[in-house]
Symmetry: D3
Subunit: 61 residues, 6 copies
């Protein structure tokens, strides 16, 4: 803990995920004073037809 869940559209590559978890962990460590080894991050990738805003599927927006 802290435990972070991030939900985003699928399609990012491993380089982007590597940088995402590195920089998010740094952000958490520096702002709320948690040791880095306690920061856990789960990435949830979503298909565009599984996300909606304003009642419209992202795949149709």
């Amino acid at each position: 803990m802290p435990i972070v869940h991030i939900h985003m559209l699928e399609g990012r590559n491993v380089d982007q995920k590597r940088e995402l978890v590195r920089s998010m962990t740094e952000a958490v460590v520096n702002s709320v004073d948690a040791p880095p080894e306690r920061v856990h991050i789960v990435i949830h990738e979503m298909k565009r037809e599984n996300f909606a805003e304003a009642g419209i599927l992202n795949s149709e927006a």
Copy 2:
């Protein structure tokens, strides 16, 4: 925000998802007075072997 996460068995088609997010968004907008463009919905689809009730996997119920 509001942010809605719905977890359901896989197998629904895009027509069902389109109607799901349209009608859920309408329900949220009308009941708690949020503007439609603020309502975000994430659909999480689950395999039947990843859901259990009463200690029994749905795939074996």
Copy 3:
């Protein structure tokens, strides 16, 4: 199942919550053909200082 988690700012009263769960359940039942007694909804209420958009706390936006 389906299981719905909705995250919204605190401050809604019980009348609004009653209508929220009634109408969201109806939306789910009608769109994805789930029996009403299987629809579970969890409401998560958030303080304004616990929600952010574009990097700004809602309490300061």
Copy 4:
């Protein structure tokens, strides 16, 4: 309710999932006095590149 979400690396087989939900349900029933038929469990399986600890992807740790 209670509603349990468990996030774990992919790769477990159905036998392991069957035992997981059986024993977790028993644990919940015995400790917080909930009837078994009310306990719902959702298993979220993650790819190793979608989980990080200490800022490092599990696939690279």
Copy 5:
């Protein structure tokens, strides 16, 4: 990881929570072969007016 989130009605005391996390951790360790120190559990306590089944708030059921 595994990371477990459990959502349940408020009102359980610390003795019940202690037994809940002890026995759930044991269930996870024994069924999916994860080391105990990797099992993280987050308990989310809900007011009865924040949980609904079949479109009815638990506080009114």
Copy 6:
């Protein structure tokens, strides 16, 4: 979207939360190329008796 949920122990002040959401948003924007106004963050604060590691409540660790 992206939508971020962070679960952490209660006790951080508003200055820490402000910096947390500012720097996490920046991390997401820079790593996965999302526009800042699409990044939503929800902070879930937990009591120490509602978090466990290795089967032990944080309040008793």
